[in-house]
Symmetry: C2
Subunit: 462 residues, 2 copies
Amino acid sequence: MKTIETSSRLSSIRELIGKDLDQLRSKLLTIHPADVADVVIELPPEEEAVVFRVLPKEQASAVFSYLPLRDQQGLLKSLSSDQMLSLINDMTPDDRARLFEELPAEVTKRLMGSLSPEELKSARLLLGYPERTAGRYMTPEYIAIKPEMNAAQALEFVRKNGQGKETLNFVYLVDDEGRLVEDLRLGSLVLADPSTNVLAIKDPPLVCVQASDDRQDVLQTFSKYGRAALPVVDTDRKMLGIITVDDVLEAAELRDTEQMQRLGGMEALDEPYTRVDTWMMIRKRGGWLSALFLGEMLTATAMSFFEVEIAKAVVLALFVPLIISSGGNSGSQATSLIIRALALHDLRLRDWFRVFRREIVSGLALGTLLGAIGFLRIVLWQHLHFTNYGQHFYLIGFTVWISLIGVVTFGTLAGSMLPFILRRLGFDPATSSAPFVATLVDVTGLIIYFSVAFLILKGTLL
Amino acid sequence: MKTIETSSRLSSIRELIGKDLDQLRSKLLTIHPADVADVVIELPPEEEAVVFRVLPKEQASAVFSYLPLRDQQGLLKSLSSDQMLSLINDMTPDDRARLFEELPAEVTKRLMGSLSPEELKSARLLLGYPERTAGRYMTPEYIAIKPEMNAAQALEFVRKNGQGKETLNFVYLVDDEGRLVEDLRLGSLVLADPSTNVLAIKDPPLVCVQASDDRQDVLQTFSKYGRAALPVVDTDRKMLGIITVDDVLEAAELRDTEQMQRLGGMEALDEPYTRVDTWMMIRKRGGWLSALFLGEMLTATAMSFFEVEIAKAVVLALFVPLIISSGGNSGSQATSLIIRALALHDLRLRDWFRVFRREIVSGLALGTLLGAIGFLRIVLWQHLHFTNYGQHFYLIGFTVWISLIGVVTFGTLAGSMLPFILRRLGFDPATSSAPFVATLVDVTGLIIYFSVAFLILKGTLL
């Protein structure tokens, strides 16, 4: 609950920075580290450093781990190397791995050299997994107990070893070879009779993910089983670490941001809009925009085939944008629906024919609807003398109507089938689908429109 | 980890259904309820009922709560009223509230009448909150302890009262008036010295949300503080319930699905693609498609103003689709970027001018790039004799280049500013933004193109 707003906190803290560092420290200690981080982001660099200097070591690193990557990097430069090391040493290994990944290589190397051997090992371990896999999100700070223990022994073990672990909601039963045998909610452990063997405690069955599992599989496991943390194992079922809920939410948000950006016809930015510099953004947008432009050039080629018809009946040119944009809009609806359904595994590859049949029906219905509106518009404008489409306005109206049925049906089918095709070929279905469908439909739409016009208007206008 | 696939489970279970119910029961008990639910979905209705009949009461309701709403409703009809009541009584209140919401009113009424008074109260309470607020996702099954207790007493209390609660990861310190004083991780409680007063136990500060808080605020609180569960309070800070991680992931997924469908130019479907019937889907798509079509009709009006110019220089018509689609594509990129950044609070309303300046630069750069490609295409095709654009092909090339700078810059600006305007007016910025921008840019693009053509080609082609 945001009882006090960041802005009012900010001004009271800035006041204390210049005046009373003791009072500043006590004020900061009453605020949640995540909220202190919100304030720190707004401070000028020299005042940022003051906040970290007055905070006790443990709070300082908690605040640090809540800062966005860019601010962490900026701060590292303005702190003494002692302060810097203490902050980094206290970060959880998964956060640290992600920080290092973004730092210039020589800084990473210097910093890695200053980690304790244990911490170095976990940072290296985490760094070895490919992007977007479970291994990237895990932290090795969990509690493992032996399957021979009883509930009382296990609780005693948690008491002695639980300080500073990222989460205590689960304890993991790991055998002598390091294999994960069972996960046990701390709640179940507390509720159990003290003399019960931990394996016999009533608790939901084990759920775990593999380090090489894709981000999307991890997300689905989380929402399917409603767990607050999941253990990560290797192919031998050896326990490597756990993934916690904050990392999962971050992964879900990232997945959907990437999908939307791809759907919008560009490369995923990988970073928030406000943090990408303008030239990088232009590059990421320009690439796809040029590719789509090259594709769209086919419309000029297609149009040039009908140059004679356009010269004979200029009225036909008037409806070109209307016809092709309707195809594009219906394609964009279909493609965003199908991409999302594929991403959430509501649809699978094998469902393509079911979707095909369904989208034919939708396309025909929607095309007939739009065509009827278009026909009425032409007839009405003619009768109201808004525009003069000539004596054959009924034929022009029918040309628009029939073309729209064809174009919208084609747009709907192209928009719904393209994601399946991309997925089948091993690409992300979201990759630029919507604009790509629009380009495809524009070219085809022109051919449909002028062919229908040729059939209907031959002998009259053409 | 999916060690055994649903399909192989399905066949072995279907075999047992006809043969050996005891063996079926023991097999089902070894499978996680969420996985049993996956199998049940695939079974024909009469076999579904068998599975629920052989399962012990507690497992049956666990499986039931993992089923999608539609399957729950179908199953309710095929079970005896005793079995039905037992399943519903064992559901968590938040799941039950969502089930009731979707049932025909008379069935809901009959079922609500059969709940215990306590359960009825919580179901009613949950139902009273508006859609997409924290109140809709909460469950009242949490553990509240008195702030006067010490750690040992609190643990003892958890042991006695913890059975059947949705999560035990947190206990909540609630005073005599029902106000939430502090939240305490079960882990911190276990680690604490038994004689410490619970208020003195070292634990991160309280984080809570209000029942009326918007879904997006709840999501942000979850990812900001990395909690596995959050308490929900009313305006008096009285404790109402908790929200757990599965409900949060569901909310995040729903938010992004709605956003993508709106971005694709349609009403949000509210249900997965495979579960919406075709006519409902056509209605939801047809509404926006017709609205966009009506807007797009303005292109026909705009084109008719330039009918004379087109008749004089038919070559101009050839580039109409290319020009307007480039505006649409650049607008769609900008709008999907900005909508996502607004949704994740990376951008706020007050940032509009910063975005405006930045998108002007991007638009000019991208337009110059596309224009250059277009110019080269025209000159090259002319020299290679692919197409004959007449003696003034250089002028036509320049017309296309200059127009693209104007159209792409306008598209980028319209695409980036429209979400801000929609948000300012109180609408969801995602509402049909991309196609709406495309329509706006199509009409404006035509005007820009023909105006530029008029200026450059006056005296030669026009």
